[in-house]
C-alpha cells in the first residue's frame, strides 16, 4: 500500500511537470497580454519597460525555470486582470465547479446503473430499445445545444428553473456553497442536467454492454445451474463484475467532466472555473490560464489515484502493493 502510494506520487509529479511545461509553453502564442492590461493609450517605450519588468523578454527556459521555482512554493503568478494571485482567484471559483460536477455525477450514478442494467437484462423490450435510441441522440447532441434547449423549455416557456447564475449561496469556511439554500439548489438543476447529458448516455451504454458480456459468462450459467434467483444472479453475480470496468472509466470521466464545464458554465453564466477560464482566454490573462490548466491537471491526477485505490478495494484480484 505504502509502496503503491509512493509510486503513484512519483508518477503524479512527473505528470504535473509535463502539464506545467505544456501550459507554460503556450503563453507566447496567445497574443499580447500587455494590450489587455494597458489599453491603447500607453507608449511603446512604456510597454517595453513593463515587458522587461514582467520578465517577458527573457529566454523561454529562464522564464519557465522562474515559474517552476515559484510554482512548487504554491505561487502560480499574479493574474494580469485581477491583479491578485492566480491560484487565489481560481480557488474562489472552484466550489461552484465542484458542486456542478457533483450534481451531474449524482444524476449519472443514480440513473445510469438502473437503466443500464434494465437494458442489459431485457434488451428486446420496447422500453430498452427506446432508451438505447435516446442515448444515441444524447451522445450526439453537443452540450451547448442541450443547455440552450433546456433553458428554452424549462426557464423561458415553463418557468420552472432559473436560466443563469448560482442563486443564493452560503459560506462554510472558505467554501462558498449553493447546496444549502433552496435558491442555490434550484439554480443547480439545469446546469447539472446539461453537464450530464453526454456522460449519462455513455455510461448507460457502457453498463449495458459490460453487463451483457457478464451475463454470457460461465459463472452466470453456473449460478443458474445452482438454482439461484434471477435477482441474485443479476444484482450480485453479474452487477459486481460489471461495475469493475465502469469504475475505471468513471474515474477518468469525472476528470473529463471538469473540462466539459467550460461549455456548460458559459451557457448558464455559472461563476465557476470553466467560465473564468474562458474569460481569461479572452483577456489573454496567461498566468490565470496556466494556473487553471495546472489545477485541472492536478484534479485529474488525484481522481485517477483515488479510482485506483477504490478499484483495489472492490476487485479482490488486485493487490495494490504488488502491482506495478
Amino acid at each position: 500500500m505504502f509502496a503503491f502510494l509512493v509510486r503513484r506520487l512519483i508518477q503524479a509529479v512527473l505528470v504535473m511537470f509535463v502539464i506545467s511545461l505544456i501550459s507554460f509553453s503556450i503563453q507566447d502564442n496567445l497574443g499580447d497580454p500587455l494590450r489587455e492590461m494597458l489599453g491603447v493609450a500607453v507608449s511603446e517605450a512604456e510597454r517595453e519597460r513593463l515587458r522587461e519588468e514582467l520578465g517577458l523578454n527573457d529566454p523561454f527556459l529562464e522564464q519557465y525555470w522562474r515559474f517552476l521555482q515559484k510554482a512548487v512554493q504554491g505561487d502560480l503568478g499574479n493574474s494580469y486582470f485581477f491583479k491578485r494571485p492566480a491560484l487565489e482567484v481560481i480557488m474562489e471559483k472552484l466550489p461552484a465547479t465542484v458542486e456542478l460536477v457533483l450534481g451531474a455525477t449524482l444524476i449519472i450514478v443514480t440513473l445510469s446503473v438502473p437503466i443500464g442494467v434494465y437494458c442489459a437484462i431485457r434488451p428486446k423490450t420496447w422500453l430498452a430499445r427506446t432508451l438505447m435510441g435516446l442515448s444515441i441522440i444524447g451522445i450526439s447532441v453537443p452540450v451547448f445545444l442541450t443547455a440552450i434547449l433546456l433553458i428554452y423549455v424549462f426557464s423561458i416557456h415553463l418557468g420552472w428553473f432559473p436560466s443563469y447564475g448560482r442563486g443564493d449561496t452560503a459560506m462554510i469556511g472558505f467554501w462558498e456553497t449553493g447546496l444549502l439554500t433552496r435558491d442555490g439548489l434550484i439554480h443547480l438543476v439545469l446546469p447539472s442536467i446539461a453537464l450530464s447529458s453526454i456522460m449519462l448516455p455513455l455510461f448507460i451504454r457502457l453498463i449495458r454492454s459490460e453487463m451483457m458480456e457478464c451475463l454470457e459468462q460461465d459463472y452466470i450459467r453456473f449460478a443458474r445451474a445452482k438454482g439461484l434467483s434471477n435477482r441474485r444472479i443479476w444484482f450480485i453475480h453479474a452487477l459486481k463484475n460489471t461495475l469493475l470496468p465502469v469504475i475505471t472509466v468513471g474515474g477518468v470521466q469525472i476528470g473529463t467532466m471538469i473540462a466539459f464545464t467550460i461549455l456548460t458554465e458559459t451557457v448558464f453564466q455559472w461563476p465557476g472555473m470553466g467560465f473564468l477560464f474562458l474569460e481569461a482566454v479572452n483577456r489573454t490573462d496567461t498566468p490565470l490560464i496556466i494556473a487553471y490548466m495546472i489545477i485541472v491537471g492536478l484534479i485529474f491526477v488525484v481522481t485517477n489515484t483515488l479510482v485506483d485505490l477504490i478499484y483495489g478495494l472492490v476487485d479482490p484480484t488486485v493487490k495494490l502493493a504488488r502491482r506495478i
Partner: protein, 323 residues
C-alpha cells in the same frame, strides 16, 4: 422407477437462415446411484444433452420435443421458477473449466452458502458449517481459512474441488458433470476423477459424466452412451461396450486410443470428420466415414434397437448380428 427418464428429446437452434437440430430422438434412463457416461467428439451433442436436462441450453436453443421425467416430474413442462427449485438442489452440475465457473469477485464461502440459503433457507452460521464440512469432504486443506478466499487464490485443481463441493452441498440425487477434468493438468485429472467417483459412491449419487475420454468412462461409469451428430448411436454397459463395440464408429474410437496402437506405427484414426449440424448427410450420418456402408445406409436412418440391454443404431450390425 428410474430416477431420470429422457424420452425422445429434440433440441433445435433457430439460426438466421435455418433451424439447426442439435439433438434428435435422444432417449435414455438412469437409476438411482447409477453412473452414466456420454461420449462423443466435440459437437456430437453431448453437452447439449446434459444442459437440456435442466433446460440450461444457451439461447436461442430450445427443447422442441420429448419429455424429461425426473422422479416422475416432467422437467420440460416446468416453469423457470419451478425448475430453479430442482436446479442446484436435487440435480447439480459440475462445469468444464473451474477458472470460469466460479465468480471471480465473490468468496468461495459466499458462492457455497448462497446455495444452502436458497434451497434450504439456512442461516449464515449453519450454512457456513455445512460449507466447511463439504470442503473437508473434497479434501481441501484448512477449509476454515479457505472458505473466505477468492477463487483466484486457489489452484485449478483446488477450484474444481470447490465446484464438486458445491455440487454436493444439497445432497443431490443426480450430478451432471460436463467434462469435469478437461481443463485441468493431466496429473490432477486422475485425482479429481477418483475423488468424484468415490464421493458418488459414498453418497449414493447418480452421475452423468460427459467426456470424450473413453478411459475415464471405463474407470467411472456403469453404462455408456455414444453420440454422433446429435444422435445416440450406441448404448450399453460400459464394460461390454468397450470390449465388444457394436457400431463401426465406437469401434473406430476404441481403436484410436493410443494404448491400442502398435508401437512404431501410426495411431489409428477414423477417416474424415464429423459433419456439421447444418450439413448432416442423408441416411446414417456416419455413412461417409464408414467402411461397411451400404446403399440402405445412404438413404435410411438406422434407429436404435430397443430390445437388448446393449443397443446400437446400425444396419450393418443388425445384418451381421451382434457379436
Amino acid at each position: 422407477m428410474a430416477l431420470l427418464e429422457v424420452d425422445s428429446i429434440e433440441v433445435r437452434f433457430p439460426l438466421r437462415e435455418q433451424e439447426v437440430i442439435a439433438l434428435r430422438d435422444v432417449s435414455f434412463q438412469l437409476d438411482r446411484g447409477e453412473r452414466l457416461g456420454i461420449v462423443g467428439e466435440s459437437g456430437a451433442g453431448k453437452s447439449v444433452a446434459a444442459f437440456a436436462i435442466l433446460n440450461l441450453i444457451s439461447r436461442p436453443g430450445y427443447i422442441s420435443e420429448g419429455e424429461i421425467r425426473f422422479d416422475g416430474q416432467n422437467l420440460v413442462r416446468l416453469s423457470e421458477s419451478q425448475l430453479s427449485r430442482v436446479r442446484g438442489d436435487r440435480i447439480t452440475m459440475i462445469f468444464q473449466d473451474p477458472m470460469m465457473t466460479l465468480n471471480p469477485v465473490l468468496t468461495i464461502g459466499t458462492q457455497m452458502m448462497e446455495c444452502l440459503r436458497t434451497h434450504r433457507h439456512l442461516g449464515e452460521r449453519e450454512a457456513r458449517e455445512i460449507a466447511v464440512e463439504n470442503l473437508k469432504k473434497v479434501r481441501i486443506p484448512s477449509a476454515e481459512a479457505r472458505i473466505d478466499q477468492y477463487p483466484h487464490e486457489l489452484s485449478g485443481g483446488m477450484r474444481q474441488r470447490v465446484v464438486i463441493a458445491i455440487a454436493l452441498l444439497t445432497e443431490p440425487d443426480l450430478i451432471i458433470a460436463d467434462e469435469p477434468t478437461t481443463a485441468l493438468d493431466v496429473t490432477i485429472q486422475a485425482e479429481i476423477m477418483a475423488l468424484l467417483l468415490e464421493l458418488c459412491e459414498t453418497e449414493n449419487v447418480a452421475l452423468i459424466l460427459i467426456t470424450h475420454d473413453l478411459g475415464v468412462v471405463a474407470q467411472v461409469t456403469q453404462r455408456t452412451i455414444v453420440m454422433y451428430a446429435g444422435r445416440i448411436i450406441e448404448e450399453g454397459p460400459t464394460r461390454a461396450l468397450i470390449d465388444r463395440p457394436q457400431h463401426p464408429y465406437t469401434e473406430g474410437l476404441i481403436q484410436a486410443l493410443p494404448e491400442n496402437a502398435v508401437s512404431g506405427q501410426r495411431l489409428n484414426q477414423i477417416p474424415g470428420m464429423m459433419p456439421t449440424l447444418t450439413a448432416i448427410p442423408l441416411g446414417c450420418s456416419f455413412n461417409p466415414r464408414c467402411g461397411h456402408a451400404s446403399d440402405r445406409c445412404k438413404t435410411e436412418v438406422p434407429l436404435l434397437s430397443t430390445d437388448q440391454d446393449h443397443r446400437v443404431a446400425c444396419f450393418w450390425r443388425m445384418q451381421q448380428g451382434a457379436r
